[in-house]
Point group: C2
Chain length 193, copies 2
C-alpha cells in the first residue's frame, strides 16, 4: 500500500507531484527482478544486482489517463514500467497528437532526457493503473560513485539500447530517403558507423 | 616513427592488419588531450583522466584511400580520429556508395558496433594520412574493472553522444514522415521519450 507521507525527492517533486509516491523501490525488488525477461535495460542483471539497484529508484503509481511524461518539458529522470501499459504520443506538424506506440511492463521511458537534459520527445499517458520505478540523473550519479561496477553495467545497457534504437531509426530514415525524390544521404548519419 | 614490431592485439588483428600499428596510445596523450575542444567523447575529461584512458587505447596509422571500417563487417572497436580526415560512405538501395560525411580529427567512428557487435553501418575511408586511437570492447571492459569511475565517465559520454544522435536522426525521420504521403508515425520511435 502507498505511504502517502513518503517525501518526494526534491528534484523531481514538481513534475511527479500528480502521481502517488510509493517510496523507494526496495519493496519492489522481486517484482522488478521478475520483469527481466521483458526488460532490455536489466536483461543482464542478477537478482543481487537488482536488489542493489532498487535502492536508487523511487516508485510511483498513476491511474488511467494520467500524463506521466509530457512532450517538450524538461526532465531528468527515466522510468521503468513495472505494472500496466502506457501510450506514447507525439504531436505532428499540425500539432495533433499521434499515437506512436503502446508500451508494456518491462520497458523504459525517458532515458534520453535523463541523460542529456533536453526536452521530452513524446508524451506518455497511462492506459490503466501503472506502477513506475524512477531513476533520476542525480541517483544515477550517486549509483556510479557508490556502486561503480553496477553503475557502469547500467550505463552499458543504456548505450546498447540507444545504439540499437539508433540503428533502427537510421535504417528507417535511409529507407525513406531512398524513396523520397530530392532527399539525400549527404549530411545525415555522419557518425552511424 | 612506427614500431613495426608492436604486436597487434589478437582480437582486432585481422581487421586492422592493413594499418600500421604504432603501439599503445601513451605517447599520444598530449595530442589526444589537445583534441578535447573538438572531441565530444572527451569533452569533460581532465588531462589526468586522458593520461589514464590512453593506456587502454592502441594507435594506428593509415595512408590516403585506405578503408578503415567497412560497411557490413563485424567489429568490436571504436576509433578516435587523432590526425587527418575520413570520408563516411554508405551504399544506397542500388548498392552505390554515397558520401554521407567528412569527419575530422577529434571525432569518433564505430561506437555502435563496439557496443552492440552488429555489422558496421557505413564505410570509412582515409582522405589523407590518418592517425587513429582504438578502443576495443575488451579494453573498455578492462577499463571498467580497473578504473570504474573513468569507465563510467566514458560510458556516460557515449550515452550522451548516442542520445543526441538519436534525437537528430528521429527529428529528421519524423520530418520526412510528415512530408511523405502514406507514411505514418505509428510503430516508429516507440522509445523516443
Amino acid at each position: 500500500m502507498a505511504d502517502a507521507a513518503a517525501p518526494l525527492p526534491p528534484h523531481v517533486s514538481q513534475q511527479l507531484a500528480h502521481l502517488e509516491h510509493l517510496g523507494d523501490a526496495s519493496a519492489f525488488a522481486e517484482q522488478i527482478h521478475a520483469l527481466i525477461p521483458r526488460c532490455p535495460l536489466l536483461e543482464n542483471f542478477s537478482s543481487g544486482e537488482v536488489r542493489l539497484l532498487v535502492q536508487f529508484m523511487e516508485v510511483y503509481r498513476a491511474g488511467p489517463g494520467v500524463e506521466i511524461i509530457r512532450e517538450g518539458e524538461g526532465g531528468d529522470f527515466m522510468l521503468l514500467l513495472v505494472e500496466g501499459a502506457v501510450e506514447v504520443r507525439k504531436r505532428d506538424r499540425w500539432n495533433t497528437p499521434q499515437v506512436m506506440a503502446r508500451v508494456e511492463a518491462g520497458r523504459t521511458l525517458g532515458e534520453m532526457s535523463m541523460i542529456d537534459g533536453e526536452p521530452r520527445f513524446a508524451t506518455c499517458v497511462a492506459l490503466d493503473t501503472v506502477v513506475l520505478a524512477l531513476i533520476s540523473r542525480e541517483s544515477l550519479a550517486r549509483l556510479i560513485v557508490e556502486q561503480p561496477l553496477l553503475g557502469a553495467k547500467l550505463l552499458m545497457e543504456l548505450v546498447l539500447m540507444l545504439s540499437q534504437r539508433l540503428r533502427t531509426t537510421s535504417a528507417r530514415l535511409l529507407g525513406l530517403i531512398d524513396e523520397t525524390p530530392g532527399a539525400s544521404l549527404a549530411g545525415n548519419a555522419a557518425e552511424l558507423t
